[in-house]
């Protein structure tokens, strides 16, 4: 036979249809889950955006995650997906004339919100300033590693900084996957299953409020908080961004508790409430005290009000 015929014959045996068939079958075989764990990986991969899922789809995701966490942490987690309460817009007040810089809030937050203990993640940073020196417009002069025997120290004052829950959040606009957004009650939340870890939001945030899981988050088994919210304190993954959510798992209830940092503060410097309720503590503060918001000139419109009660 001539070589041309040979070539023709080969083309016939490997038809376009058989190539497509074989290829598709091959791809399909890749998709067939071997065990249930693999199935959850595929489900996670094809999970829809949180705000585009219906109730059944959300319930399926929660079921999958609860199983995933139970396998991983050997404890049963409860993951809530409670939506914003109608008629609420959360606001926070922090009394700078009372704060003594004791960092109870930092670690109460860690306890409540399942932050990684090693590598260490803190959602609250307490800044110390020297009295009489530049401060509000120049946070560079602050010290966050202070560790004296006792606080408050003479000649210093303290300013804790955490997510300011901006009404105009620059982090949300920076996110390429819409993994972070502002909910109707004003809380800026993150879907850890949609975060791709690009850290654009961290670059966009003028308050340094967002933290990144550079390593696999590690928490001692006995310190896990198993009462969680999907958009809040559920355990995170390596390579995702996290931040303060005003304790969404505590406050988005009727009746709802105060955020953990409010409850722990021994001097009562931290206040919390509904900005739309004229009788709330936060409205009383805005009406009667001298308040300011951090870096107001950036037009981020924070809902975190620093104030001076005395």
């Amino acid at each position: 036979m001539k070589p041309e015929n040979d070539k023709k014959k080969a083309c016939h045996t490997l038809s376009r249809r058989s190539v497509l068939k074989g290829g598709l079958l091959g791809l399909a075989s890749l998709a067939i889950p071997v065990g249930s764990a693999d199935a959850s990986i595929w489900e996670a991969f094809f999970q829809k955006h949180f705000r585009e899922m219906n109730e059944n789809e959300i319930a399926a995701v929660i079921k999958r995650l609860e199983k995933e966490y139970a396998d991983k942490f050997k404890t049963q987690f409860r993951i809530k997906t409670s939506k914003s309460l109608p008629g609420t817009l959360f606001g926070y007040g922090l009394d700078l004339s009372r704060c003594i810089g004791c960092r109870r809030c930092v670690y109460a937050c860690v306890r409540e919100n399942n932050q990684s203990r090693d590598p260490q993640i803190h959602w609250i940073t307490v800044l110390r300033f020297k009295k009489g020196e530049k401060w509000v417009n120049d946070l560079e002069a602050s010290q966050k590693y202070y560790f004296p025997e006792a606080v408050p120290e003479d000649g210093h004052f303290y300013m804790p900084v955490q997510c300011q829950q901006c009404e105009n959040p620059p982090c949300v606009r920076a996110c390429p996957t819409q993994a972070t957004w502002k909910d109707p009650d004003g809380i800026v939340v993150i879907d850890y299953n949609w975060c791709i870890g690009c850290r654009y939001c961290m670059a966009a945030c003028p308050y340094g409020a967002r933290k990144f899981n550079w390593g696999k988050p590690r928490i001692s088994q006995k310190e896990l908080n198993t009462e969680t919210h999907y958009l809040g304190n559920r355990p995170r993954y390596i390579g995702v961004v996290e931040k303060c959510t005003f304790c969404v798992q505590r406050v988005r209830e009727n009746p709802g508790k105060y955020p953990a940092c409010v409850e722990i503060c021994p001097v009562g410097a931290r206040k919390f409430g509904n900005l739309l309720d004229p009788k709330s503590e936060i409205r009383y503060i805005i009406d009667h005290k001298r308040v300011f918001r951090l870096k107001e000139d950036l037009n981020t419109n924070p809902k975190f009000y620093y104030f001076f009660a005395t």
Binding site: Y107, R117, D118, P119, V151, S220, G268, N274, Y284
Partner: protein
Amino acid sequence: MRIVFSFLLLLLLLIFPGSAARSQDDDIPKKFFVPPPPFSEGIFPCSQCHAGMPANPKRRALSMHSEISEGFNHAKEQRWCLDCHNPDNRDKLRLASGRTISFEESYYLCGQCHGTTFRDWRFGVHGRRTGQWNGKKEYRLCVHCHNPHQPRFKPLQPLPPPEQPGDIKYKELSADQIPLNPLGDIK
């Protein structure tokens, strides 16, 4: 004329019933949970010892309650025991008006001088806040945080600072080597 006047007054009261009856105490958080006063163990009721004991208003070093008279630092030039404690019934406190109140209502006593702080406290803006932001708010008495005999807030030991960037290193850790929260059991 008098009848017309009283009728008008009655009409006014009917239209604005709140304005006449409203007192400053309306906003006192009586409906909220206040934990009982932080008495030292076995000290209350005071009448256990003081019943039948004559009241002595003289400023002096006390033999019983020496820790109070020694550390007393609350406008000490102007004040001594019986300016707040009721001499006739020691289980009560006495306001400047002569009205006696129970230890559970001691905020009235503090509010006599610290009016602005009292006002802030009533609105939930002074003092530690627990409970529910849209439900039952828990109020503490002034004396839960401030010792009434030396009210200045005591300095506290701070919890550790965050790790410095230079100290952040990857460590192999077994489950029981993961660092614990330094907060411990602090509530």
